[in-house]
């Protein structure tokens, strides 16, 4: 019995160790990790007000080209594009972190409960809820939420959390159903441990690798959706985001000023590609089937 438990623990440590070994050999994955870390540093800098806090200050220097004072020039009402880009990085990161954390937490909870209570009414109820949420087109759901909660700043965040958890829940549920049939869970049940304890102590630690992958995927999706929603006027209300920068840049483009557009879309593109590379590497490293 004890041997069983400790062997799963060893197995678990071995999994993390092997994953780390594999991650160290993945060049693209490392590049992705470096990119993500850089953006994280930018975000921390904005939090500490080292840079980017002057994003809303206007001046009479309209549509300036890059200079020493304004590294990336100014926009149509004389705001510093570099500061706006940096501040928007923080906004994007906040959306991504908040949505990824809440959605994967919710997904893990409901997914593991559904998997643990497989073939009961609780499972059917959660499955039904996931089916319902997945059937409503995402942008319309956000629009509906924004409409129902007129003026509420976090309507977009809430809508994303309510939609994105289903993917995680499905993955976790399938894994929990598989885990449940393994001996170490059976023996935990035989020992008379309470269901909640089995779930928290034995099942959730064994799905944590999936959780990491899912959170990175949600993070990227959230940031990309935030840009499109903000562009459509459904997203960030107070503050600046890449989507809002792109929205204001569509007027600049017609006048021949491209910097605003290039900065916002460039920052977004690099972050997303970095995160995609990192997430791919994580998936390869953490999936026991793919490990060499």
């Amino acid at each position: 019995m004890f041997h069983q438990l400790s062997s799963t623990k060893n197995h678990n440590q071995a999994l993390w160790f092997r994953s780390w070994q594999q991650l160290k050999t993945d060049k693209f994955g490392q590049l992705g990790a470096v990119i993500v870390l850089m953006y994280f540093c930018i975000t921390i800098g904005v939090w500490l007000q080292l840079w980017g806090h002057t994003w809303s200050e206007t001046s009479d220097l309209f549509n300036q080209s890059p200079s020493m004072k304004h590294w990336l020039g100014t926009n149509a009402i004389g705001q510093d594009i570099a500061s706006r880009g940096l501040y928007a990085t923080k906004v994007a990161f906040e959306v991504g972190l908040m949505v990824a954390m809440c959605a994967s937490l919710l997904g893990t909870m409901l997914g593991s409960i559904a998997g643990f209570k497989h073939n009961t009414w609780i499972d059917s109820l959660i499955l039904w809820l996931m089916g319902v949420i997945d059937s409503i087109p995402f942008y319309l759901f956000v629009a509906a939420m924004a409409y129902a909660m007129k003026g509420f700043v976090f309507a977009m965040h809430l809508a994303m959390i309510m939609v994105f958890w289903t993917e995680t829940a499905r993955v976790i549920r399938a894994e929990v159903i598989k885990l449940k049939q393994l001996e170490f869970i059976e023996s935990a049940i035989a020992m008379g441990q309470s269901q909640s304890k089995i779930l928290i102590k034995h099942i959730i630690p064994n799905v944590s690798h999936l959780l990491i992958i899912q959170s990175t995927l949600i993070f990227v999706t959230a940031i990309k959706s935030e840009v499109i929603l903000s562009f459509l006027g459904l997203g960030v209300k107070d503050g600046i985001s890449w989507g809002l920068m792109i929205a204001e840049s569509t007027n600049d483009i017609q006048a021949g000023y491209f910097i605003n557009f290039i900065v916002a879309s460039g920052l977004l593109f690099i972050l997303v590609i970095g995160f995609n590379l990192f997430s791919d590497a994580l998936q390869d490293a953490l999936d026991p089937k793919l490990q060499k």
């Binding site: 319902v132 409503i136 087109p137 409409y147 129902a148 007129k150």
Partner: protein
Amino acid sequence: MNIGIFALQKLLGAIPLILGVTFISFVLMVYFGPDLTYELLGKNPSAQDIAEIRQLLGYDQSFFSRYLLYLKELITLDFGMSMMKDQPVSHMLRQAIPVSLLLMIPGFILGNILAIFLALKATQFRGMWQDKSIMTFSVTGMSISFLIVIILFQIIFSSSYGFNWFPVRGWEVFDYEGGFSWVKYLSYVTVPTLATVFVALGYNTRFYRAVLVEEVSKGYITTAKAYGHRTPQIMYKYMLKNAMVPIITRIMFSIPLVVISGSLLIESYFGIPGIGLLTYDAITAGDQPILKAVVGLTSVLFVLVLIGAELLYKIFDPRIGKAS
């Protein structure tokens, strides 16, 4: 005969799902939605006017009967008048749907066929430079936001900074006699289609490659190779057919997304009067009758598409549904 019973079973099974999606859109759009009483009233309304309007909007009825009313609206497709334009919502939808279909169908078909083709090539040359370049292209396509692709393609193809080959925006596909003009249609549909295909290729190729790679390692492929079948025959005849179930799932699942989410951005950016632009205008103006119609109908459509997908599985793989 079997397929009919199977379809009926699936339809019955979908009823809770349809009730669920309609319930959520009802709660969000109708029940918790903003109070519209004063938007429909003139200045200085009397208490009687207010009561009349509230009765007209159904605010005096119970939660449950209002939900039934919404279900009735969905079944009869009668959502009343739009608040912005003085037209019945059903009439506006009927005008907008063909535009959206004409706009999205070419990109949808091309995006899937090209992606399957690229995925087959990538699988065939797995690990070699062809595979790597296809996958690099695919990851790039995935990483660029759809929004940025649309704006970039518009700059490249329809502005004086690029080639300036196509009109910037709009949708005038009828010639002076009022007939449908293919030339005009193509000039308006090309840039949106290119943008859709570019983004769809990224996601689809990656997905299809994963499906095909799993298929290629199966025993029957080895057998076919041992029998000396030529590679194209193995790839297109045996492997593709066996990989069809996940491919169909993906295609079917993306229909509602493409029709609504894709066209929301494309149509509002290119000013094309389809469902997307209608929805976008309704969102910005808070036009509740249109929103509740679009949200409710697309969600129900999605559930029906799911049933359609399961019927298709059964055609491609007769084993499905037999065990139960």
